[in-house]
Amino acid sequence: MPRLEEHCWSRSCASRVESKTFSGGNWVASRAEEMMSIVTTVLSNAYGSLHSVRAAHLIRRGLVLFTVGVVLALVLNLLQLQRNVTLFPEEVMATLFSSAWWIPPCCGTAAAVVGLLYPCIDSHLGEPHKFKREWASVMRCIAVFVGINHASAKLHFANNAQLSLTLAALSLGLWWMFDRSRSGFGLGIGTAFLATVITQLLVYNGVYQYTYPDFLYVRSWLPCIFFSGGVTVGNIGRQLAMGGVEKLHND
């Protein structure tokens, strides 16, 4: 799932930019120009400061987040495989690297994007996230996230409403336990929404498949997973941004 979610995230960013540029006549041109200049300055800045410490730090964070995303994608995908939700042939390892090879990288990319976005937004809003900023808490958060996935994959629910309600409660609990910031909540909701929409688009266009192509079923649990995934990755990203030299040990 998270690979989908990552995919959506990366996509959503792109679409956001597009939507901004395509909304007016004259305004578009000026806007586009502005955009271009911003992009070029950003690029040149990035290029120029490639050797500087900050950039190296940023890249390192991005790499760590990417790794985390890829690992989480692989692991959680295996969990979902056990429920036969996603459609894959029998051979697991072969599957992971053949049919859906694009998913873990997408996942990692999106994890990097979201994980870098969270501290960035925090600093822009001017309210640094100070709630439970320590690695132990982050580990707890990841464990709870995996647990939510586990629950969604392993438990048998009476109906979809129960499943989605339970998962929603769990995700909200996750947010409240480990984040409690408005920006985190908003970003989580946003990623969940966009990710779900894009997943649905992918599924309807046949790029991706579920064994049960039931819209209701998919809708019931996907957003919750995306939401909690966003919060989790954001948590890691914030900790990385804060922790500086400390590296993530578990991956």
């Binding site: 410490v53 900050r54 690992v71 692989l74 692991v75 959680l76 295996l78 969990l79 495989l81 056990q82 697991v92 390892m93 600093s123 001017g126 640094p128 100070k130 320590e134 690695w135 132990a136 982050v138 580990m139 707890r140 990841i142 464990a143 709870v144 995996v146 647990g147 586990h150 629950a151 392993k154 438990l155 048998h156 629910f157 009476a158 129960q162 309600l165 339970t166 409660a169 609990g173 804060m242 500086g244 030299v245 040990h249 578990n250």
Partner: protein, 1298 residues
């Protein structure tokens, strides 16, 4: 509670004191209720507060109890853990072992697919036909009577040879009744193809047709091949896997009995060969099977066989854990371990970090076990997969409380008694612990109402686990903590004594009144090294690698991991049959296994080692491999034992049938059947097979037959040497492994020892320092084992001020200090003599200073006036002290400390308010009464204690309370109403600077005065500004003054004297500043305002620093501005902070660093105005900043001192200070840092983060925090110590540096 803080001036200096009242109340629940100290006492305590107080009182008592009786409590806790875990004994071990179910053969029908409700005993997997029916034919054959002419090979050659005729018999058996003709071909399980990966087995296992397995398969079921085989054993062995055994080998499969029971060996003692012909049937036909059984019995009658043949056993195989499940599982466990690692890493300042971490983990784990045990006791059988939910349970329960407890206890004052420390620590955190627990319980209870059975079960476990975890925390962990802390104190005492005895005698200072050395106290610091790699900057690379290895104990860890893996492999491949044993035990203990035990009473206790159901228990205890025939003919057996082969061999090897032969397959590995079927790509996961009762066959062969079937080469084998090799081959692997392991271990130890001797110099171990892990009080020692010389440093107390020191200024030779009373004293920094006293005139004249008269009375009485003030708690605190009879450190009771340290401030405010209420009210907008809590809080955030080492840029709170000042910040008008009428000296000195002989003093009424430091005369004064001067900078002949209204004034000091005649003084050496001109007393000095920048900042200027021709101001408006000193031109406005600026550092080399309320530290390039780096280091404000050439040192409100690498912005390490005194620091040299603490100053080696020495400033270190600290040029430091100044020389450091 926070709102009701007094508008207490001194609270400015105690950043933590907002929290203090709560702490006080919590820590001393028996004292009077805190109403008295509040300005506007609330009518009643709310329920919440009362609850809180009760809880903390209970925790306090509990802590006392725990620390007083540690051993009984730990015993009690262990007993209760064991009691709660007792029901777990009945649970089957978790695992994927097979489950059994027994039915009777007689009325057996293939179970239907539909579940039937009425069959209560029937397990739910027992549905539909099994994968296969297994019909074993157990053959026991012996050559009898045994002849002394026979060779060892004869023991098994002819018995094995009989398998071919038996096979023939079985294959050709046809049952014909009325319904039709049935043969084995029709019934057996037809297999098609071996798995492609098993080409090796191709010749051995049947590839097509019936799955019929027997030892004959070794020879392709052809008698000719068997007869022409020169070495049967070699044939059998050549298919065995090399190395360690896996659990189901080909030999097991073909023989159908465990290897050591086959008797196919040259050293067989009993000379009975046992093997099984295993028929795998696809469908069940009772009549065919019974006819086959009858036929075989008729052919080979078993005389004394009494095997029961009426039960068939169905064995269900659970799902094997595959890759797909293992990976998520492993991931969750990795996350769990990371969580535990990161959590326990935070345990600090204890004697044994690892011991406490272990205790924490034990607490959590045993609470989980208790939870499962209790749930089982009350009838809930766990259905969830324990291994899967276990990490989540741990994560939900969490280690947080344990850490919070540790931290709280550790942060109590160290000189208290242990049990009081424990009690205080517990009660400090009681409220938050209870709150957290209540929240978690609520969340879990909500989860219980999701009505999903699995979640409900999880929640149930979690709730019970939480409660038992709380219990264990309170009893087990607290007690362990108390023991640990007690140990730490003992260890500290033991270590400290010889260290001091070995110290060189201190140099007698010329004028220094030598203080008696203070009693040894553990230093109040912890230091956390961020990256150990930075610690050995000085070492050569080669040594660095070696030390890295030594420090991280890589070798040990590798060995440990290797050992664990090795043991794991051993256990997995189980050469000793451990797995079989466990699996058998599981099946024994599981309720289903009882059925398989053939109606025996269920035995719950000790399971037999090689469990034959109903077997003789005496067998199971024997160390020897279980003999094939247990009891029937003991005399024969004993003959077999004692007789040498030549003489007393039993002539007739007895073939007997015991109960364990009924289900001989039980002795096989539980992987036996799955691996057999898996060769044909049939999985048994989640399916079952039915094992039919054994058909026993007894074969007696005559010696003649044996001799006839001999192969010519058989006689070459030597006769069995003697008995001593009797059962060696079976266990040889184990012995080999053990011997190898021992040898490897010894070798490794030797190797490590050699390494140690080679790599470590002799004195490496003699310094008694554990490298890489320093505890408090360790002697400083770098990685070479070099300890810098330590000599006693005795501080020199400069007494004279009557009140607390307010401002400090120094130019290296002279030191000027100003106290709250307004008195300025000038000291000689070399000798400590007081040179000049500039008194505050007219002390008793005006109403606003009337407080001084009161103050005298205060000193006499020593307690606060209770009325109208928050002084009520102070008597309370005092009473408590006396009650308790132990020294109460002021840090935990900061509230009384506030009052006692600075008793002068309170009446000040009071008199101000009382005497001039109208003017006050005019100035402040109508607020209700005296509620200054919010203001004080704001003042907290805005105001930091002044940075050490530089001018005290802080306004004295003398003339008006800071709230008042802060209120007026928005206005242009100065706040001091008394300035209108009273003489100018009435106003307080808010800022002071000293250059040359001149003291520049900025007053609250905006006046700038220049005093002669030596003569004590007023040389000049400037009254151009009206707004109070909050900060001053004096550089060369210019003075910059920052005013309250945000404006910046530049003054020039003119001397009517040619510049060439100016004398310069002061040592030119290390000083950052250029030598100042020395003004002689006859010069006329004038001070002129050259430029006034009206709106330098939007908000008040908080910091002002000048160096290298630049003036830097930091303000509340989040910006830093850089001005040029000569033309007062604003060069840059530096933006980048997201909070007000609280600290700025600039020096001659144009290094500019700024710290803000957001906890960020920025480094700027002053030449270009660009930001060099930006790091977040503190939670809360940065209180002071100092840079050296290689690093940046910052301290923050969080009492943390962080050392950063200046070029990369990476945090090197951090030092955790005591609560409330992390503000002052100074750098003496490139590598020597000094920090102020609670009545002491500490010296640190900057490069390594080593605590070099802690110097206690006075006898009674009661709560006098060092707030200001100035580093003088001659490697001395001056710090304030209440109303005294303390001058500390650092001779040892000087020697080391030079």
């Amino acid at each position: 509670m926070r709102v009701c803080i007094n508008p207490h001036l001194s609270s400015l200096w105690f950043p933590r004191s907002l929290d203090a009242p709560r702490r006080l109340v919590l820590a001393h629940p028996r004292t009077a209720p805190p109403d008295g100290r509040q300005l506007t006492p609330p009518p009643r305590m709310t329920v919440r507060e009362r609850l809180r107080e009760k809880i903390s009182a209970a925790f306090y008592r509990h802590g006392l109890l725990c620390a007083s009786y540690p051993v009984p409590i730990i015993l009690f806790t262990s007993a209760s853990i064991l009691a709660c875990c007792y029901p777990l004994l009945r649970l089957p071990l978790p695992g994927t072992g097979p489950v059994e179910f027994t039915t009777r053969v007689r009325d057996y029908t293939v179970p239907s697919h539909e579940p039937q409700g009425d069959l209560g005993e029937r397990p739910d997997w027992y549905r539909g036909p099994p994968v296969a029916y297994i019909q074993p034919v157990l053959v026991k054959a012996a050559v009898s009577p045994w002849d002394s002419t026979l060779v060892p090979v004869d023991v098994f050659r002819s018995p094995l040879g009989r398998v071919f005729s038996l096979l023939e018999e079985i294959r050709n058996h046809v049952h014909d009744d009325g319904s039709g003709v049935r043969s084995l071909e029709a019934l057996c399980l037809q297999v098609t193809d071996l798995l492609p990966g098993l080409r090796r087995m191709q010749r051995v296992l049947p590839e097509h047709g019936c799955l019929l397995v027997s030892p004959g398969n070794y020879w392709q079921n052809q008698r000719e091949l068997f007869d022409s085989d020169p070495d049967l054993l070699k044939t059998v062995h050549q298919h065995e896997p090399k190395g360690l055994h896996t659990s189901a080998t080909l030999r097991d499969l073909l023989f159908g009995v465990p290897v050591k029971h086959t008797g196919v060996s040259l050293y067989s003692r009993k000379r009975v060969v046992t093997y099984t012909i295993t028929m795998v049937l696809g469908s069940y036909d009772a009549r065919f099977l019974s006819s086959l059984r009858a036929r075989l019995r008729q052919l080979h009658p078993s005389v004394n066989c009494s095997l029961r043949e009426d039960h068939m056993v169905h064995v269900h195989f659970k799902e094997e854990i595959g890759m797909a499940e293992l990976i998520p599982l492993v991931t969750t466990y990795i996350i769990l371990f990371a969580y535990i690692y990161f959590s326990t890493r935070k345990i600090d300042m204890v004697k044994s970090k690892w011991g406490l971490a272990l205790a924490a983990v034990v607490t959590v784990l045993s609470s989980l076990l208790m939870s499962v045990g209790l749930c089982t006791l009350f009838g809930l059988t766990p259905t969830l997969n324990g291994g899967e939910i276990f990490p989540y349970l741990v994560v939900v329960i969490g280690l947080e409380n344990v850490l919070v407890l540790t931290k709280s206890v550790v942060s109590t004052p160290v000189d208290l008694e242990v049990k009081l420390r424990i009690a205080q620590g517990l009660s400090n955190e009681s409220w938050s612990i209870m709150k957290n627990m209540a929240t978690e319980l609520c969340i879990i209870l909500i989860g219980y109402f999701t009505l999903v059975p699995a979640i409900q079960e999880f929640c149930l476990f979690a709730v019970v686990g939480l409660v038992s975890d709380f219990f264990l925390q309170m009893f087990f962990f607290t007690t362990v903590l108390s023991i640990d802390i007690r140990r730490m104190e003992l260890a500290d005492l033991n270590r400290r004594l010889p260290a001091e005895a070995g110290m060189p005698l201190p140099k007698p200072g010329p004028l220094r009144p030598r203080e008696a050395p203070p009693p040894p106290r553990p230093s109040p610091h912890t230091i956390t090294l961020q990256t150990p790699a930075f610690r050995n900057l000085r070492l050569p690379k080669r040594l660095r690698v070696v030390y890295f290895l030594a420090r991280t104990r890589l070798a040990q860890r590798f060995i440990m991991v290797g050992t664990v893996i090795w043991i794991g492999i051993l256990a997995y491949t189980d050469p000793a049959g451990l797995r079989t044993y466990l699996a058998a035990q599981v099946s024994e203990q599981s309720p289903l296994g009882e059925g398989g035990a053939g109606g025996l009473p269920p035995h719950l206790g000790v399971a037999p080692v090689f469990p034959g159901p109903g077997g003789d228990p005496a067998d199971t205890l024997s160390v020897l491999p279980a003999p094939a025939e247990p009891t029937p003919l003991p005399e024969n057996q004993s003959q077999g034992h004692h007789g040498a082969p030549g003489e007393g061999v039993p002539l007739v090897p007895q073939i007997s049938w015991g109960a364990e032969d009924e289900e001989g397959w039980r002795r096989l590995s539980f992987r036996h059947w799955p691996s057999l079927f898996s060769y044909y790509n049939i999985t048994l996961a989640k399916r079952y097979i039915s094992i039919l009762p054994v058909i026993p066959i007894t074969l007696h062969l005559s010696p003649r037959e044996a001799i006839e079937t001999r192969h010519p080469q058989d006689t070459r084998h030597p006769p069995p040497p003697s008995l001593k090799t009797n059962d060696l081959p079976a266990d040889l692997t184990l012995y080999k492994v053990a011997a190898l392991g021992l040898a490897a271990g010894v070798l490794l130890v030797l190797l490590l020892f050699c390494l140690y001797r080679v790599l470590c110099s002799r004195n490496y171990g003699q310094n008694g320092v554990a490298h890489g892990r320093r505890r408090r009080g360790d002697l400083p020692c770098d990685d070479y084992g070099y300890s810098p010389p330590i000599s006693e440093i005795s501080p020199l107390l400069l007494c004279g001020h009557s009140m607390d020191i307010e401002c400090l200024a120094s130019d290296g030779m002279l030191l000027a200090s100003c106290c709250l009373a307004g008195q300025i004293r000038v000291w000689d920094t070399q000798t400590g003599d007081c040179l000049t006293v500039i008194p505050k005139h007219g002390l008793r004249r005006s109403s606003s200073s009337g407080c001084w008269e009161q103050r005298d009375g205060w000193d006499a009485v020593g307690v606060a006036e209770p009325e109208n003030l928050g002084g009520g708690t102070e008597p309370g605190g005092g009473v408590f002290d006396e009650d308790k009879g132990y020294p109460l450190r002021r840090r935990t009771t900061p509230r009384p400390a506030l009052f006692e340290n600075q008793p002068d401030l309170t009446p000040l405010i009071d008199t101000n308010f009382d005497s001039q209420p109208p003017s006050h009210l005019l100035l402040t907008p109508p607020r209700n009464g005296f509620d200054f809590g919010g203001l004080v809080e704001k003042a907290y955030l805005e105001h930091e204690p002044p940075s050490p080492g530089l001018t005290a840029s802080y306004p004295s709170p003398l003339s008006g309370p800071p709230p008042q000042r802060r209120r007026s910040l928005g206005y242009i008008q100065p706040p001091a109403p008394q300035g209108q009428e009273t003489p100018d000296w009435e106003s307080a000195v808010w800022a002071m600077e000293l250059r040359g002989n001149l003291i520049a003093a900025g007053r609250s009424n905006g006046k700038l005065e220049l005093w002669d430091a030596v003569e004590g005369s007023l040389r000049c004064s400037n009254e151009d500004g009206v707004s109070g001067i909050t900060a001053l900078a004096f550089l060369n002949n210019r003075i910059v003054a920052a005013r309250l209204d945000g404006s910046l004034d530049f003054f020039t000091v003119d001397i009517n004297k040619p510049l060439g005649l100016l004398q310069y003084r002061g040592p030119p050496g290390r000083s950052n500043m250029p030598p100042s001109p020395c003004y002689s007393s006859e010069d006329v000095i004038s001070c002129q305002l050259t430029r006034s920048v009206q709106c330098a900042h939007q908000k008040p200027i908080t910091v002002l620093r000048a160096a290298a021709g630049r003036v830097v101001t930091g303000s509340q408006d989040h910006t830093v501005r850089v001005y040029r000193l000569e033309d007062s031109c604003c060069l840059f406005t530096l933006q980048g902070h997201s909070g007000g600026i609280t600290a700025i550092y600039i020096d001659q080399t144009m290094v500019l660093a700024s710290g803000g309320q957001d906890g960020a530290i920025c480094l700027w390039d002053v030449l270009t105005g660009s930001r060099v780096s930006h790091v977040y280091g503190h939670r809360g404000d940065v209180t002071s900043l100092v840079c050296t050439t290689s690093c940046v040192i910052s301290s923050g409100l969080d009492d943390l001192i962080c050392i950063w690498d200046r070029s990369t912005g990476i945090k090197l390490y951090s030092i955790q200070q005591e609560v409330g005194c992390g503000a002052s620091l100074g750098v003496i040299s490139e590598s020597l840092l000094v920090t102020g603490g609670q009545g002491c100053v500490s010296f640190w080696d900057l490069n390594f983060g080593d605590l070099l020495q802690t110097v206690y400033l006075g006898q009674s270190s009661d709560g006098q925090g060092v707030r200001q600290l100035v580093v003088l040029n001659n490697a001395a430091i001056v710090c304030d110590f209440g109303s005294e100044l303390s001058l500390v020389y650092v001779p040892a450091v000087l020697e080391k540096l030079d």
